[in-house]
């Protein structure tokens, strides 16, 4: 499987192929912890301003501006502050954080320490999805190395700043990737999202000011401090700063993790050249989900010859979203009714059950897809699916409801023939 940078020097992927890159020794040999040293001489405001200037946006999927999120923390509050890394990576098609956690754990430690220093946090957590247990073991060893080297714990590098970092395990629930459900899970509760406001920056873990950031967001922080926010931003574009990791899977010859500068031109070249082109020469490109299963599915005719730029604005203009960068490529052998059914089952399994529209709606959607796949589809089913989606979208506590609706809405709109085929043929002979 490929792990490489295209169109830029590897930053996030700098240590992916270096032997023992996960160790403190190699991390330091390759320039690691210089950013932390520098950050400890800066003011909290200056650090937050560098992150703002970088135009870094949350890499988990929501894309919220990171510097702005950090600035919402009331640092004067007497309550404890927390930085929580969201390592719950569960968005279908997404596997980039896994390799960062496996091969460069110190990059995350350094990023979290800088964030903790900037926000006044003395205890912080890395929440892992439960299935990533082997990655927790790797991180625990890295944390021990950092403690032994005075990079973690009391009086870090001889300064007044003390901070502890702990790993924490989830137990198999996609919804715990939603930041407030994650916090409930960290508190030992069922993983239900919370009503917002209040937002975690004001009332998060243990009702204290908390910043939750994705792995890839936090590993960008040392890069930003080292080269400066503007310079990091300018690796990408003005509104989409820096570089992004894309997890490519499906019908390409070279699936893997690719680091691209934001604004990479363009999506067609990325698929047909950089990722090795289509898996089977005689099976043409049919569909792409560019940002994890929750984003709108794209038809090949929205990609080929359309110059879709790979950044936040470019994908919105192109008809989808960056999301998590979980880039799923499908050729003409895929039936889009079946692929959409597959994802609808995912959302039904993963619905936390709190909100009636999502809990009942996703279940009903699966039942309808089951009936269609059994050959009993009716022409009015397309509208029925859309009506149910409409009753879920925007009508729940969290984005899982929207995420369940968007694949269906975009699939019916952009692949009408795939659905027509199931809704007008009737194997019952009626």
């Amino acid at each position: 499987m490929e792990i490489k940078a295209i169109g830029c020097e590897p930053l996030q992927l700098k240590r992916m192929h270096i032997e023992d890159g996960h160790t403190l020794r190699v991390y330091r040999e390759t320039g690691g912890y210089a950013a932390l040293k520098k950050a400890l001489t800066m003011s909290q405001d200056d650090i937050i301003n560098e992150v703002k200037a970088s135009a870094l946006r949350g890499r988990g999927g929501a894309g919220f501006p990171t510097g702005m999120k950090w600035s919402f923390v009331p640092r004067q509050s007497p309550k404890a502050k927390y930085v929580v890394c969201n390592a719950d990576e569960s968005e279908p098609g997404t596997f980039k954080d896994r390799y960062l956690l496996e091969r460069d754990p110190h990059a995350l430690i350094e990023g979290m320490l800088i964030a903790a220093y900037a926000l006044g946090s003395n205890v912080s957590y890395i929440y892992y999805r439960g299935e990533y247990k082997y990655l927790i073991d790797i991180m625990d060893k890295a944390l021990d190395e950092a403690r032994a080297a005075n990079l973690l714990g009391k009086n870090i590098l001889g300064t007044d700043f003390s901070c502890e970092l702990y790993t924490h395990t989830g137990a198999g629930a996609y919804i715990c990737g939603e930041e407030t459900a994650l916090l409930d899970s960290l508190e030992g509760l069922r993983g239900h999202p919370r009503m917002k406001p209040p937002f975690p920056a004001v009332e998060g873990l243990y009702a204290c000011p908390t910043v939750v950031n994705n792995v890839e967001t936090l590993t960008a922080v040392p890069q930003i401090i080292e080269m400066g926010g503007i310079k990091w931003r300018d690796l990408g574009t003005e509104k989409s700063g820096g570089t992004k990791l894309w997890s490519v899977s499906g019908h390409v010859k070279k699936p893997g993790v690719y680091e691209l500068p934001m604004g990479y031109k363009d999506m067609e070249k990325f698929i047909l050249e950089d990722c090795g082109g289509m898996l089977r020469a005689d099976k043409k490109l049919k569909a792409v989900i560019p940002g994890g299963s929750s984003v709108y599915i794209m038809n090949a005719d929205q990609i080929i010859g359309k110059n879709v730029t790979l950044d936040y604005e470019g994908l919105v203009a192109g008809g989808s979203l960056v999301g998590s960068g979980g880039f799923i490529v499908m050729d003409e052998t895929v039936d889009i009714m079946e692929s959409t059914k597959n994802l609808t089952e995912f959302y039904k399994h993963e619905s936390c059950g709190w909100c009636t529209p999502c809990r009942e709606g996703t279940d009903w959607l699966v039942k309808i897809f089951d009936r269609i796949a059994a050959g009993n589809g009716k022409p009015e089913d397309a509208q029925l699916l859309l009506d149910i989606c409409d009753n879920i979208e925007g009508k729940s506590f969290c984005a899982l409801g929207d995420a369940a609706a968007w694949p269906i809405q975009s699939a019916i709109k952009r692949f009408p023939e795939d659905f027509k085929k199931w809704l007008t043929k009737n194997t019952n002979g009626n």
């Binding site: 499987m1 490929e2 404890a80 990576e89 569960s90 968005e91 279908p92 098609g93 997404t94 596997f95 954080d97 896994r98 957590y125 999805r129 439960g130 299935e131 990533y132 247990k133 082997y134 702990y166 924490h168 395990t169 989830g170 137990a171 198999g172 629930a173 996609y174 899970s185 960290l186 508190e187 030992g188 509760l189 069922r190 993983g191 243990y206 997890s247 490519v248 899977s249 499906g250 019908h251 699936p255 893997g256 993790v257 898996l279 989900i289 299963s293 979980g326 799923i328 499908m330 052998t333 895929v334 692929s339 597959n342 994802l343 995912f346 399994h349 993963e350 936390c352």
Partner: protein
Amino acid sequence: MAATAPTDFTNSVVVTDEVAEFSSAVVEEMKSHLVKYPPERKRSALIPLLFVVQRERGYVDNAGANFLAKFLGLEVTDVWETATFYSMFNFRKIGKHHIQICKTLSCKIVGEPEITNHICKRLGIHPGETTVDGKFTVTMVECLGSCGTAPMMQIGFDYHENLTTEKVDRILDSLK
């Protein structure tokens, strides 16, 4: 053959006052999780400790849940309330080797169905079932973050990727 999922809770737990006992090493292990959280927030250790109970007892059982309630100062209903939410906890005995096959889209479109059929045919069970000799349980699970090396499965906590039917046979042959 009953195809009750390992995580099905109803009908499988008999509630008594029995409290499980653990070795001092295991109790020390549990305490090592507790220190990570504020002392008034012991419930944060519940999910990590449920994994310890599951490892020691084979699954999350009545006696293990009672132990955790005492250890963490919770009601036993708090323990079950949390445990039943998460897919990785089992409430009855399953096979020695838990084969979890990813069924989500990226795996599905590059050959998962062939792998699933091969495993089920070789073991003589359907997804959700356990072999009669108690050696294997097969479960279909959602995306495991291995889409670039699909199709794949997780056995226990171990990832097995880039599967072919030949590779699957070698892996299953090697499991005692």
